[in-house]
Symmetry: D2
Subunit: 305 residues, 4 copies
């Protein structure tokens, strides 16, 4: 492997020297207070070596990145039966679009659209007695860090303004693909999105997807090898909304972004990497996060392709 | 590496023993005459070892698979400027859909939709003096086989019945993203799709995408390493129309299918593999071809994820 | 004028002798209990002569027909400024579709789609201190009948199952075209739809649209002549969802239908006519109601065209 | 009836005194040479009295207005069977949109979209030995004027640049709703659109729709009373593309516009009126034409509503 630390430092400094672009997510009031110039990077190899740069210890909001964890929780229990409720196809539309649902009878195209993740939350309410606690337990175990917490202020902020998600959930309910109380499903969804995390915790959390589904220390098997590969495939094709193709093209790693400004990606068999910078491009993905990852995989020539 | 020959033979026999499903492409009259039970497989490693099974020497029509080659021809000449004319995002719609074009001002979502490939043909007419000959030269060189030919009967058959493609081309022209004579663009497109090939030739042809852009014997560099990775990324996200997500999920390799019943895929750094069976599923991809590749990557656990 | 009573009787009997088709609206539980074979007709001329047949004294649920009254209440106060909030174009889509909203930035195509009527309710909450009471007052005054009431059981039934409308309202809210509390807007909307009425009351209520905006007895001017014409125009082009063109073609009168099975129509300067039969066709319009009106205007050759 | 001449003169002068807006149709080269300030008006009553103002004797291109005549030719022969090939619903989309066709299996929403009129041309090729001549004969007979001609330069101009219409025709062909040679269908369509006419001829031509389907002098019955009403209904709901609702609302008459800048409308039982001014609004309808008609029906309070 390359000398990751110096490559990470070089790119980090080079990007900081350039103008930053984009807006901090404004539709969630709590998120719009963040310092827009924060910029942290962490990388952990499957051998457990960790590299960092910048604001890697600052907490930010996990947001849509949690969709990968919600999906894992449902997938380990249901296996392929899960795909009767949600597809695995890129949608070609923004993350909060209602357009295709009307033609697809309420089956969201993929689990990383908001509609898809909300359906997964509905599934989790049937599968777990206390899915909120089960998710937090899983996150803490995978990240090996018991300090990780939900952020009730962020969740409350989203609940108060989340009209689009209320619309999506009720629309899917009207089409028959949500079975539990819509408010309960949405409460779970907003809570899960609110987890506060830093880049080090985040890449530790996702290392399991680079390590055949297993944690490093504890050898806890979250998903089997085949399931892990399939999770990575869905991240690659659907992880960046209508910018998924571009991310695969520019970066070439399975990954997932959130409107909190975080992006996490993995090179199966090698490492996980997390980047955080709050300014988002037009598609809702971190501007500097994308910049960093593109330069990183271009310089190292490390990608799945 | 695994014992490819016995794995290929096992899966091939097992699939033949099962019921075949789907319809041979009916909209191109010349293609509908093919024996629907044909089934061939070839795999070539980057070390040049070749494995085969079934009807690997029978010719079939390349069809949409040629879109990867057309794109390569344009991309090597134009680089990133090409993306002003065509995107790299999965569309979430069938291969011959006109829907999204209306909102995207004539910029096809990706180069592997029919509209996208037709735009690429328009680009090639500006870049190459004789793009037909240039394509054939490239195909023969990559496959190291001078016997490969266009099939004029197939091309004529498509020209006579290709109303949807005529519609697509004229629609894009009306939106300003085709500059040459529409009939000339379509004639080039139909000709290119008509190339007759067998699975051995096909996987030899695509080995360049598994070998960092270079041919084995001649060390001819079609694309540089970074460009090759990017071609593979586009194949993964867009190579199977509105089944791209499912192919990534089930098979986990960059690849491309054609309505002739062929599918070719690559594991970068390792091998290319081509499968041919004429019956197509609802999405227009070879039913047995998909079955074979899914079982192959599941058994060998060889995928990019 | 023709001998309306014998024409009405003839058509009424003829239709009863034929097989009835369609389903009673099932998505509102309270409505699905109705006797599906009920069939009433009333017609009142601008001279105050009234003709009846069948179940003209049985109460049914006004449902979407109330959208015309809500629109009138907003239009009399705001005039043309109202069209900044809602359009007057037929949408070409079903009554509860979300499709076009996404492209129209939350401005519903017309006030007779559910989304459009919900926006009108939002407008009314700003214009009237107590819009619920104001609507009921207006309805009673126009129909000259103080017994007309809301049906709280129907309203509660819709509130409990109205996921699609909750989706629409929240979607429009997310796009900025609802300003009041979404739940308050929806509560008003569901209440208004629940008014219980019979065909005699209904055609009396709509006579104002046939009589230049004025009531017969009291000479109360709800709308001026020009406004009345415009209301009739909107009824004609938008009153029957994606069957508006067909209704104009078959019947040729401005009108409005509701999923309660009611249809009301007017011939300006001449009469209003109301029909009620609970079985709905695929588009959500009363099967026998449409049949009756088509035969009535064909026989009498009385239409606006 | 009102004093039409002075009302027409007043409105005509008042509009000329105001700023003109909009662009002359640019996509048909021959049309873009026209003097954009031309402005003519003609009205003829069912008693044969004719009123005129401005450039009422200048020829302009009939364009989409011919769709009403093509539809009449098909409807008189086929009756209601015609609606198996084309609908009567407003589409909510621009005149040359392909969007809804994909979901409607090639059945255009209405005969006044380009796709719809092209399908009607396909029907006419089956119904008439020489539909070109039959149309011209009908036009001359209705307008009582043998000097009316096709304009081959306009037709040629459209053929050379009509990519969108070529796309529409081939798209419908691919969906099975065109049976004749696509080029022959389009040639007929372009020719028909090219008829050169003035406002006096135009309102004489459409008087039949105000006069129960009959010509004044000759008492030639083009359509029966019921058919005539239905033609008027389709004009009202579909005659102005995605501005049909607005035209019904503002003007309140059945009518049809063309990108040549002409608009014709009728008040059944009373008169037909034709206006011509080449500058078009964003929806493709004559800016001054709409202005004139709105003011005319507002002042006279003569509308179907």
């Amino acid at each position: 492997m390359a000398d990751f630390q110096s490559i990470i430092d070089d790119i980090h400094q080079q990007i900081i020297a350039q103008k930053n672009y984009g807006e901090v997510a404004g539709y969630i009031p709590e998120l719009s207070d963040i310092d827009p110039e924060k910029f942290g990077v962490s990388l952990i190899t499957v051998n457990g070596v960790c590299y960092q740069a910048g604001d890697s210890q600052d907490l930010f909001s996990l947001q849509s990145i949690v969709k990968v964890l919600l999906l894992s929780m449902a997938y380990t229990r249901l296996g392929g039966r899960l795909w009767q409720r949600v597809g695995v196809e890129p949608s070609g539309t923004p993350f909060n679009s209602l357009g295709t649902l009307e033609y697809d009878q309420g089956i969201p195209r993929n689990p990383f659209s908001n509609a898809g993740a909300i359906v997964v939350c509905d599934v989790l309410l049937d599968l777990y007695e206390n899915p909120r606690q089960a998710l937090l337990d899983m996150v803490r175990r995978l990240a090996d860090d018991d300090t990780i917490q939900y952020d009730p202020a962020v969740a409350a902020s989203e609940k108060a303004e989340g009209y689009r998600n209320v619309a999506l959930a009720n629309f899917v309910r009207s089409l028959g693909n949500i079975h539990n109380d819509v408010d309960a499903v949405l409460a779970l969804y907003f809570d899960c999105c609110s987890i506060a995390i830093n880049t080090e915790q985040l890449c530790r959390l996702f290392l399991v997807f680079a390590n055949n589904g297993q944690t490093l220390d504890e050898h806890y098997q979250l998903l089997n090898v085949s399931q892990t590969k399939r999770m990575n495939a869905i991240m690659l094709t659907c992880g960046f909304y209508d910018e998924a193709g571009d991310f695969a093209y520019q970066v070439g790693l399975p990954g997932k972004s959130g409107v909190g400004g975080g992006i996490v990606a993995v090179l199966p068999g090698h490492f996980s990497i997390a980047v955080w910078s709050p300014r988002l491009n037009e598609k809702g993905n971190s501007f500097r996060g994308l910049q960093f990852l593109e330069q990183f995989t271009t310089k190292t020539q490390l990608s799945i392709f």
